[in-house]
Amino acid sequence: MQEDGLRLVLPLAAVFVGFFVAPLFMLLALSLSREADMHALTLAHYVKFFTDPFNYSILWATLLLGVKATVLCLLFGYPIAWIASRVHARWQTVLLFLVILPIMTSVVVRTFSWIVILGRQGVLNRIAMGLGLTSEPLRLLFTETGVVMVLAQVQMPLMVLPILTVMSKLDPNLADASRVLGAGEWRTLWRVTLPLSLPGVIAGCILTYSASVTAFVTQTLIGGARLVYMPLHIYQQAIGANNWPFAAAISIIFMLAVLCVVAVLNMLMRVTPDHASR
């Protein structure tokens, strides 16, 4: 039975080796070669990236963008998950449906609707000016604030779903015990529910973070041409400048950077259950 089992994985494994692993190794080889013909071995592209402030400031801005979007998602997503885990099953389905809707809608469409909302004549500016909050239209489109807002909207389900999964498995007796022992609701949330739901929070952060830093369409359409993040940088170098080896090097750097952040968060997740059970 066991031997038979692993045979079933072979077709997908073959596709992945042939069209995922092999291309990534090819990319690595290309990033280490002087020209696109892949002959002379060199680290020049990596040196160039890390000695040019323009390049590494883009990497830094991208990694920071992910942090901002993830924090915003967490601030709104945790309460949604908390409420969803407490309401009747039917309302939970409705709530989840509303949370999932944006991520299902085509990214271009979603981004387009934000352009209508965030523009100078957009909905948000007309509301703000109608209420007398501002006399001049605010600049939201083509700013990082706009990008963070849109990313948070889009990635919200990636935060809510893992938290909800962990929260629904929590023993409700623990929170009751905390209350019986005299802790108020806020204290119970802070000392019992939150620590126990940390694995879900971290899983949500991993998904939200990696989706936000790599969200090419949202970053480019809402951020405009002047706000360059890593995905657009790779695209411009590969297609615009036709500098394949350099584009390969920055792709590798970007992938490793994202993997590092994910690995750190993952390590945190391994630590928390021990911490919580003590």
Partner: protein, 274 residues
């Protein structure tokens, strides 16, 4: 459940927590839903401009879609690519999930990690890598490569939901089937598949939507003559923001909603995604 209280007094602490969280969630829900509603309302405008609230209501921009041949062609291409990508994801992903769920070897867990990694890695970097690879093989981008690229980035959805469904599957049912004389294929078709079908279905739905919506991979792997819908719409938005794009967006939002309702009805979408 609220515990019985000896005498009633307002529990300000509980009230403040519930009120705060309810308020934050309400703001978040408006924030999540408003864009879709606004784009639909804007597309119903009778004028040339993209303003909200719209100036007068009409369906003229939806009628204009009937003449948008390039957009229709792009839609068809996207549907065909998404169909084949989804089919391959289900056909390759379901047996792989069965194998991973049954095996407790390290190799199975490593494979699981490999198959899930396209979700975490930048899809754009993978698209570029695949393009480099195709050129180094002396080939050119084409629709089969495009579909293959979509399979790589969409298969994690099928794997996730199918693996989740398999953990709910009671192994004694399989033993019972085998001891009653059913072969492996018979057991799979009559026992396993009906029990995990909703998981496979929900995953396939997610894979379809992800493929239909994919930009980063299509950007590199579509040949010059092939244009997929999201890239076509993107170019429309970047060059001339016209109301036809809003109408196309309206159609997409409504279709997405309908498909989601169907997926919820037949595959229990929201419960499968947890």
């Amino acid at each position: 459940m609220p515990a019985a209280r000896p005498r009633w007094r307002p529990d300000w602490e509980s009230l403040s927590l519930h009120a705060t969280f309810a308020l934050i969630s309400a703001v978040a829900i408006v924030f999540l839903i408003a864009p879709s509603l606004i784009v639909i309302l804007t597309s119903l405008t009778a004028s040339q401009s993209l303003r909200f609230p719209p100036d007068g209501l009409s369906l003229r921009w939806y009628a204009a879609l009937l003449d948008a041949h390039q957009m229709q062609q792009a839609t068809w291409t996207s549907l065909v690519v998404a169909f084949w990508a989804t089919l391959l994801c289900a056909v390759l992903g379901t047996p792989a999930a069965l194998a991973i769920a049954r095996s407790d070897r390290v190799g199975a867990r490593l494979l699981d990690l490999l198959f899930m990694s396209p979700l975490l890695l930048p899809a754009l970097a993978f698209g570029f890598a695949a393009l480099v690879f195709i050129y180094k093989l002396g080939l050119r981008p084409s629709i089969p490569f495009l579909i293959l690229g979509h399979v790589i980035v969409c298969v994690p959805f099928v794997l996730r939901t199918t693996l989740a469904a398999l953990t709910q599957l009671d192994p004694s049912l399989l033993d019972a089937s085998a001891s009653l004389g059913a072969g492996r294929w018979m057991t799979f078709r009559r026992v396993t598949l009906p029990l995990i079908g909703r998981g496979v279905g929900a995953g396939s739905f997610l894979a379809f939507m992800a493929s239909f919506d994919n930009v980063p991979v299509s950007l590199f792997l579509a040949d010059e003559r092939t244009e997929v819908l999201p890239i076509h719409l993107w170019q429309q938005i970047e060059t001339n923001l016209d109301v036809r794009t809003a109408a196309a967006s309206g159609v997409i939002v409504v279709f997405t909603l309908l498909l989601m309702l169907l997926a919820e009805r037949f595959a229990g979408l929201t419960s499968q995604m947890r």
